[in-house]
């Protein structure tokens, strides 16, 4: 089997130069967009264009009620064990549950880390009280976050300082419902991930 040294050694002889491993190039200017989008208005515009829906509430109590109302009749509810979602009634409590029950959930409720106005994305990381399956396996998914967690551009997430531990094991930007155009380029939603997505933004 080829070792790292052998593999890279061959590349070095092909590129014919050696540079210090820890230098980076010129600073990369931020990506500029044609239209500035920011805050709740910007996010709502982008997210709804992608097929998601948005609802605003004034506090966490109202958020719990909004989640309960939206998820009614959508099957077993899987909710991440986040203090902000403590008021949301649940059938499956994430992560204090058996992983095998995750596929049975009809609706996932996630405390998103952030949202991006420019692209209409919600940002979810795989830290212990977020998990991956909650925003992935159910056909319906609700993302709860605060208005001041909405950033302008993807660069605000991608260029953030992740600290000494680096980025989480999985950081995902989710832009609307799962979609495919693989048959005749015709848009179908919910092919694998959630097909119906809702954002509950806490403004208070």
């Amino acid at each position: 089997m080829t070792t790292r040294e052998q593999f890279l050694g061959r590349l070095r002889s092909a590129t014919g130069e050696r540079a210090p491993a820890d230098t980076t190039g010129e600073p990369v200017p931020p990506v500029r967009y044609a239209v500035d989008r920011s805050g709740l208005t910007g996010f709502t515009e982008s997210w709804t264009a992608l097929g998601g829906t948005v609802e605003t509430v004034t506090d966490l109590e109202a958020a719990a009620a909004a989640v309960e109302a939206w998820t009614a009749g959508k099957g077993p509810l899987m909710v991440v064990n986040h203090p902000d979602l403590a008021g949301v009634p649940r059938d499956i409590d994430w992560p204090d549950c058996d992983l095998d029950v995750a596929p049975d959930a009809g609706c996932g409720v996630v405390r998103a880390d952030a949202a991006v106005a420019q692209t209409g994305s919600v940002v979810v990381s795989s830290t212990t009280n977020h998990g991956r399956s909650v925003s992935l396996l159910p056909l319906n998914c609700v993302f709860v976050f605060r208005r001041d967690e909405i950033v302008d551009d993807p660069g605000d997430i991608l260029r953030a300082d992740f600290g000494p531990d680096g980025p989480p094991s999985q950081l995902v930007l989710i832009g609307g419902p799962s979609r495919s155009g693989d048959i005749e380029m015709s848009l179908t939603t919910g092919v694998h991930g959630p097909g119906v997505v809702h954002a509950v933004v806490v403004t208070g």
């Binding site: 500029r32 991956r132 179908t188 959630p194």
Partner: protein, 466 residues
């Protein structure tokens, strides 16, 4: 998984011209490719309008990618060190066989029965599915388009829309045969069948396999963009995740990644970002309930290093958006299968001779271009694809032109380099008016003549007028 529709094996013609001819007589294929590529091109144009100045961003992306290439060994080294520090395993594969062997080893060690796969051109390159199936492992493609063509026993015909050549009625037949009951031709019903059918595969799979769109050296991250969620499922649900990465699919920093991501989905599908931008840094960590226990990344050379340090090195800047396919007047007429290579269209016409010089396509595909330059025009990282195609043609012409042909072109060059020589040749051409129509209709001269009108010569030489 083996194809579920029994159809007589269709032999693939050896030469591009014959495969193209077959495609040109397939009206359904041509209409489907035209429809899809038109939509993708329009989408790209609108999406790039979302950037303040897409040309500036494309210039930046080109700079970023070229900087990576100039220091690729150090950047890969740094990335691997960072990923290993976060619990990932990095494997180095010189060629397709070695990559396959690494993956088979992992599958064997894990006692894997079922593997689920997200879309990965690198896995197509190493013919991974057939190798795994030959060793008794079951492989299920999970991207809707890839699932369709796996059932059909075919290969992808477009970088980002692999089943571009199939319509809902083709899918109806394939899914009905797979399900054992009638499915389709309603597209929503067909997609719903795929969701139910593949869900159990995800949950039962021992290993998930994905490609890599762009790795980030400074944190040892791999990035994977997709719209369906199957990529996220492949990389989250099974206990082992294996990613196959072309060795050049990397940038140094997250700032670089921001620039590349701002162009990738816009150029590919006309979206500001794909639905899922998955950025993975190692396997699941202590305390995390879900996510793979093991993450392996197989870094693939497979001929790429032969292009490094050559005039074709910039081809490795490609971010695999597929925009060059959509605008190519040749691809738009014949589709991807006519190229009979993992990579079709202009990018394939350059990559195939470099990655697989001994294949018939290695010689023929650079000819499958009008050199119009539309590909270079739309390339988000500004690869001069048409220049490269021309250079490859020069290279081939120099390498194996017949002596007579070389002599002929030398004589022509010598004749037209002088004024009397040029006058002599035009005088000769005027005297032999009508000869053109009598040129042989067979052989290479006939093929050249078939679609060309030779203009009539004037009676007088303009240069001799007073």
């Amino acid at each position: 998984m083996t194809p579920t529709v029994d159809s007589p094996p269709v032999s693939v013609p050896v030469h591009f011209i014959d495969r193209a001819d077959r495609a040109l007589h397939d009206e359904q294929l041509r209409a489907a490719v035209r429809h899809a590529t038109d939509l993708l091109m329009k989408g790209r144009q609108v999406a790039l309008g979302g950037l303040e100045d897409s040309d500036v961003v494309r210039d930046e992306a080109r700079r970023i990618r070229s900087r990576v290439l100039s220091r690729l060994p150090d950047i890969l080294d740094r990335w691997a060190t960072n990923l290993e520090a976060r619990g990932g395993h990095v494997h180095w594969a010189t060629d397709a066989d070695e990559a396959v062997e690494i993956i088979l080893d992992i599958a064997r060690r894990r006692g894997a029965r079922l593997l689920v796969k997200g879309k990965s051109m690198a896995s197509e390159e190493i013919h991974l599915n057939s190798a795994l199936e030959a060793r008794g492992h079951e492989v299920v493609e999970t991207d809707l388009g890839e699932f369709i063509i796996q059932l059909a026993g075919e290969t992808p015909s477009h970088l980002i829309a692999p089943a571009i050549h199939k319509d809902r009625y083709d899918v109806e037949k394939l899914f009905t045969a797979d399900a054992g009951h009638h499915v389709g031709p309603d597209i929503t019903e067909e997609a719903g069948y795929a969701r139910r059918r593949l869900r159990s595969s995800f949950l039962e799979a021992d290993i998930g396999i994905s490609g890599v769109n762009c790795a980030v050296a400074e944190t040892g991250t791999i990035g994977l963009v997709e719209n369906e969620g199957n990529g996220r499922l492949c990389t989250s649900v099974p206990p082992v995740h294996i990613a196959i990465m072309g060795m050049e699919r990397i940038v140094e920093t997250w700032e670089d990644l921001d620039v590349i991501l701002s162009l990738l989905a816009r150029s590919a599908t006309g979206q500001p970002l794909s639905v899922y931008t998955n950025l993975i840094t190692g396997p699941k960590r202590p305390g995390e309930l879900d996510g793979p226990e093991e993450l392996h990344v197989v870094v693939l050379d497979n001929g790429r290093s032969a292009a490094l340090g050559t005039e074709y090195a910039e081809i490795l800047n490609c971010i695999r958006c597929g925009a060059c396919l959509n605008v190519c007047p040749v691809y738009r007429q014949v589709g991807g299968h006519a190229y009979d290579s993992v990579y079709g269209g202009p990018i394939g016409a350059v990559l195939t001779p470099l990655l697989n010089p001994a294949s018939p396509g290695g010689r023929e595909l650079p000819e499958a271009s009008s050199l119009c330059g539309a590909c270079a025009e739309v390339c988000p990282v500004r690869i001069p694809l048409d220049d490269m195609l021309l250079r490859l043609r020069h290279r081939d012409a120099r390498a194996d032109s017949s002596r007579m042909r070389r002599l002929g072109f030398s004589a022509w060059s010598w004749l037209w380099a002088t004024r009397p020589g040029y006058a002599l040749s035009t005088a000769a051409a005027r005297r032999s008016r009508g000869l053109a129509s009598r040129l042989p209709s067979r052989g290479w001269l006939g093929a050249w003549r078939e679609f060309r009108e030779i203009p009539p010569m004037g009676r007088r030489d303009r240069r001799s007028r007073p």
